[in-house]
């Protein structure tokens, strides 16, 4: 079937609609901002991994195979604290489970994309990739597979991996990392990422309880067990906050959440700030 005659298939490049081209330019600008952030943060990850004893191959395996910044940073801490692999894998699953929300939110937009393509797109679905894609799709009112790849690969995957390599290689040239304050990068990065995820009182309570329980249990047992306890108990207590007073401002999987996850770049999209969220899967095509 000729693609230029079908409304439900993205047009070929030579017949791309002006609004799609304009949105792609906006996407590219946003992606550039995120790429700068990914370079800096990836470099810091490489340094932290090196500090925790990761080899170049191990650090790069994390960045290419796992490709999940927060979970990778957390894994550095888990490995350094001596947490057993089953515990690391469990916590990784919990920490990355939020991607379920992203993929569920993107699903209505991408249902006409071939299955094999979607399988590949899934590996590149990060906080940043989601933020770029959902904003782009909303601007043009439909999915744009090329835009998705552009955002995910150019803004995050390539810079993150190159910067990881630079960090873990150059980290070996630093004789006394503690004198440069590199040891504080990990906890500071963790708390910064946590702040980025706090979009209401439930998240705030979960974070505070998670931290408190984590420290108390760590002192009573070991840091590794404390981290697990905090990560499991915190959300349970957070759920006790009644929805009526949760003051949730950006539920995950919504456009507001996408804007939130654009941190630390500058990608606010005032036109979509009050957008109620992703399209109803049962509604018309995006």
């Amino acid at each position: 079937m000729r693609r230029d005659l079908r409304e439900d298939v993205p047009a070929l490049s030579e017949s791309v609609a002006p609004e799609v081209r304009a949105s792609r330019r906006r996407l590219a600008a946003d992606a550039a901002g995120i790429a700068v952030s990914a370079v800096g943060f990836g470099f810091v990850y490489g340094l932290s991994a090196r500090e925790a004893g990761f080899s170049v191959v191990e650090a790069m395996a994390m960045s290419t195979i796992v490709f999940a910044g927060a979970a990778q940073f957390a894994a550095v801490g888990y490995v350094a604290s001596g947490l057993a692999w089953p515990g690391i894998i469990l916590l990784t699953a919990l920490l990355n489970a939020r991607h379920l929300l992203y993929s569920a939110a993107l699903s209505p937009w991408l249902r006409d994309v071939p299955l094999t393509h979607r399988a590949g797109m899934a590996h590149l679905l990060t906080d940043e990739g989601f933020a770029l894609a959902i904003s782009h799709f909303r601007r043009i009112g439909r999915a744009d597979e090329r835009g998705y790849w552009l955002g995910a690969i150019v803004s995050t995957f390539i810079p993150w991996n190159l910067a990881t390599l630079a960090g873990v290689v150059l980290g070996a040239q630093i004789p006394d990392p503690a004198r440069l304050g590199i040891d504080v990068i990990f906890p500071a990065a963790m708390i910064g990422l946590a702040v980025g995820l706090i979009t209401g009182r439930r998240e705030l309570v979960a974070a505070i309880v998670g931290a408190g329980v984590g420290v108390v249990v760590a002192l009573a047992t070991s840091p590794a067990i404390g981290i697990v306890a905090g990560g499991v108990v915190g959300p349970v207590v957070g759920l006790l906050v009644p929805a009526a007073i949760a003051a949730e401002t950006a539920p995950l999987g919504t456009a507001a959440s996408a804007e939130r996850y654009a941190m630390p770049g500058m990608h606010a999209d005032p036109e979509n700030a009050d957008d109620p969220g992703p399209p109803d899967p049962g509604a018309s095509d995006p």
């Binding site: 191990e58 993107l106 963790m190 002192l219 999987g253 630390p264």
Partner: protein, 114 residues
């Protein structure tokens, strides 16, 4: 060069990819129970906050016994938290945290970690 953690990376991928792929490959995932979504939304802040708190507040001595630690790292991490909360700029927060620790250690106000 060690490659032991490559296997760990594969395991981590094995538990991460389904979260990313299920929604894209399985129609109807958005009809999961609301409570499940709510719990998942809270896991990230709790785990990351626990990691940060344990990293700066708990140290393990040579005898493998954890003990409470107070140090300049508290100030650095708090300043990072404040900057991210106010400016939404994680990188700026990290730079501020590093500067605080470096200056305090160079000035002799804080000891280097063991």
């Amino acid at each position: 060069m060690s490659t032991n953690l490559v296997l760990l990376a594969l395991f981590m991928f094995a538990v991460t990819y389904p979260s990313r792929a299920l929604g894209l490959l399985t129609p109807g995932l958005d009809r999961l129970p609301r409570a499940a979504f709510d719990y998942l939304q809270l896991v990230g802040p709790a785990v990351l906050a626990a990691l940060a708190a344990v990293s700066v507040m708990v140290v393990v001595g040579d005898d493998d016994v954890p003990s409470f630690h107070v140090g300049i790292e508290w100030v650095a991490v708090f300043v990072c938290l404040a900057i991210v909360a106010r400016r939404r700029n994680l990188f700026l927060g990290l730079v501020a945290a590093i500067v605080i620790v470096v200056v305090a250690r160079e000035a002799g106000f804080a000891a280097l970690p063991d």
